[in-house]
């Protein structure tokens, strides 16, 4: 699907949502005392206008360039790893989660099996030391109290 068309529709939807939110739920107030809905309402309206302009331009000029290809496997793995890290951070604790994270992502580096694991372990320890002892960041303890 052409780039500008897709994104134009997306932003238009957002604009409509925001404008309605601003109008109904939050008060616009008067010009004397603008309410919380004032900015969102007008902001949404402007956004909607520009989205329509974008859509119009896209349709008029038949500039239908598609977005460049996405390499789904790599992208999904990384996004899943990131999300997984966050979701399990407080239950499993920093050390375990970091180790798993690095083990997963070093797959891209195409190291031998041994190097892969060794690097993950060393890196986890170094980062742990760095954050805990030097920068004094609070790291969650998690499952095994580590």
């Amino acid at each position: 699907m052409p780039k500008d068309l897709t994104s134009g529709i997306f932003w238009l939807a957002i604009a409509i949502f925001v404008t309605i939110e601003g109008f109904t739920k939050l008060k616009l107030g008067t010009l004397h005392q603008p309410g919380p809905g004032f900015f969102p309402f007008w902001g949404g309206l402007l956004l909607g206008t520009f989205s329509l302009m974008l859509l119009a331009r896209s349709l008029k000029f038949h500039d239908w360039i598609a977005a460049s290809a996405i390499s789904w496997p790599a992208l999904s793995l990384v996004l899943a790893a990131l999300l997984g890290y966050l979701l399990f951070l407080e239950t499993l604790g920093f050390l375990i989660v970091t180790l798993l994270f690095l083990l997963a992502l070093f797959c891209f580096a195409e190291l031998g099996w041994v190097k892969h694991v060794a690097l993950s372990v060393i890196a986890t320890s170094v980062v742990y030391a760095l954050f805990k002892f030097w920068l004094k960041v609070q790291l969650p303890l998690g499952l095994f109290g580590i």
Partner: protein, 493 residues
């Protein structure tokens, strides 16, 4: 000012200045990690430091990155930092001719001269601007911010409509959370994390850090060839200096004034400098083939722009680019109110930062030349090994802001968003700037309307405010006018 130097020379501040410029150079050398993400990353670790040390360090990262970016551009033909794109052209050509050393040397010296010059102008210009700014009221601020946002969209490389949309989205994102005047929640949908608003750190790390990594995943297989710099030949010879002197001067001035304008900044400055040098040169055909002016000018320009970018922040409290937006956040976190009163209320910070920039530039000159070998070795590390660390630091950084997984999720969402934005040709910079300025604008707007009892004309009846609004309107109309006249000209033919 002398007091500023006293502050800057305190050992702890010197240390953090050094750390800042060192990390900055590192970040500049490594492609795929920009100063914005790095500064956002290190922001939480400055909580324990004094405000002065924090700002000194974070500022150091910014202009340090301008130095580091040239190294990768020259040696590997990949810009380490967006502002160093132009340096690839002639810089890499020089490297291929075996002249990597002088290229790196002139880039470093040019950056130093430009950086120092820009700070000098800053020293004298800043107090002047502060004086003018003190007479500003809410209407002037609102109009100025409108102008600033418009400038940002004007200077985007892509479609202006899209940039305006990004700015609007940014403003809307900025309104997420508690409304300061009425106390009501906006767009929080009952989610705890959103009630404090969208944190600047997670958003920037997602938008600039994570999304960059996601984009680079597509090019993992690319092998990089690094050209080793000859060990002794780092100093440019006399001929090089003769050719570079004026471009450096021109680049510095051009860069500084472009740096002041919100949205313009280092990238535009370096492009403009390159174009200028090519146009005024007696032998334009040399450009692209290893003309040292093509390195000296742009490198000077991008460092000068970095210096100039501090002006709106330090004098008016308005960020000129995403990095300055983070610094704004940093100031607020440390309890300081950015704006014209900053100079009066926190002279130590104000002048201490400026003084540290002189020192930082000197440190960078020393750092860059001898340590080229180390940077080169660093470049040989494959990206596949680097990016997990980058992501890890982003994750820890986002979490550590408030010991809250929710912030990490925000970062994740913005990482995906940033990735999609780049894929669909939208620029993230207007969004971030608008997100930071948005709440400020809204407050200024409402205060103005309360002042004027609902009369919108207040923005036009006050001369300075009117001036800003008219300029903004002009910028918005200009692209449409020129496009139409171009179209009609081609029609007539």
């Amino acid at each position: 000012m002398l007091n500023g130097f006293q502050v800057a020379f305190q050992p702890i501040n010197l240390l953090y200045c050094f750390i800042g410029v060192f990390i900055g150079t590192l970040v500049g050398v490594l492609p795929g990690l920009g100063p914005a993400a790095a500064i956002a990353l290190l922001l939480p670790s400055t909580f324990a430091l004094s405000p002065v040390a924090s700002i000194i360090m974070l500022a150091g990262i910014y202009y340090g990155a301008m130095y580091g970016g040239s190294t990768t551009s020259i040696l590997v033909n990949i810009p380490g930092e967006a502002a160093s794109v132009v340096t690839c052209l002639d810089g890499h050509a020089m490297a291929r001719q075996g002249r990597a050393g002088p290229a790196l040397g002139i880039a470093a010296f040019g950056s130093f001269i430009a950086g120092t010059l820009s700070i000098l102008i800053l020293t004298f210009l800043a107090p002047l601007l502060v004086k003018i700014a003190l007479s500003f009221g809410p209407p002037e601020y609102f109009s100025l911010m409108v102008l600033g946002t418009t400038l940002v969209t004007y200077f985007t490389q892509g479609s202006m409509v899209k940039a305006l949309m990004m700015a609007l989205v940014g403003v809307l994102l900025g309104s997420v959370g508690v409304d300061s005047i009425s106390g009501r929640y906006r767009f929080t949908f009952g989610i705890q994390t959103l009630m404090d608003g969208l944190g600047l750190v997670p958003v920037i790390m997602g938008l600039f850090g994570i999304s960059e990594v996601l984009l680079n995943l597509e090019n993992l297989a690319r092998q990089r060839r690094v050209y080793a710099a000859p060990s002794g030949g780092l100093l440019p010879n006399r001929e090089d200096w003769r050719r570079s002197a004026i471009p450096i001067a021109r680049g510095s001035l051009l860069g500084f004034f472009l740096g002041i304008l919100p949205g313009a900044g280092a990238i535009i400055a370096s492009l403009a400098s390159y174009a200028t040098e090519k146009r005024v040169s007696k032998h334009p055909e040399r450009f692209g083939r290893g003309a040292i002016e093509g390195v000296a000018g742009p490198e000077a320009a991008n460092n000068a722009a970095a210096g100039g970018a501090f002006i709106p922040l330090l004098t008016l409290g308005i960020p000129a680019n995403p990095v300055m937006a983070i610094l704004l956040g940093a100031l607020m976190i440390h309890g300081l109110q950015p704006g014209p009163l900053l100079m009066q209320r926190a002279p130590d910070l104000f002048w201490g930062t400026i003084a540290s920039m002189y020192i930082g530039n000197a440190m960078l000159l020393v750092l860059n030349l001898p340590l080229i070998g180390i940077w080169t070795r660093l470049l040989r590390v494959p990206y596949a090994l680097l990016f997990p660390f980058i992501l890890l630091f982003c994750l820890i950084g986002a979490y550590s802001v408030g010991n809250n997984v929710g912030d990490g999720i925000v970062m994740w969402v913005f990482g995906v968003l940033g990735y999609l934005l780049k894929k669909f040709d939208y620029e993230a910079a207007p969004l971030i700037l608008a997100m930071v300025i948005g709440p400020m604008m809204e407050e200024a707007l409402r205060q103005s309307l309360i002042l004027s009892r609902g009369e919108f004309t207040i923005f036009f009846s006050r001369p300075i405010s009117a001036g800003f609004i008219l300029s903004a309107a002009l910028l918005l109309i200009l692209p449409f006018v020129t496009r139409r006249s171009e179209a009609s000209q081609t029609h007539e033919r």
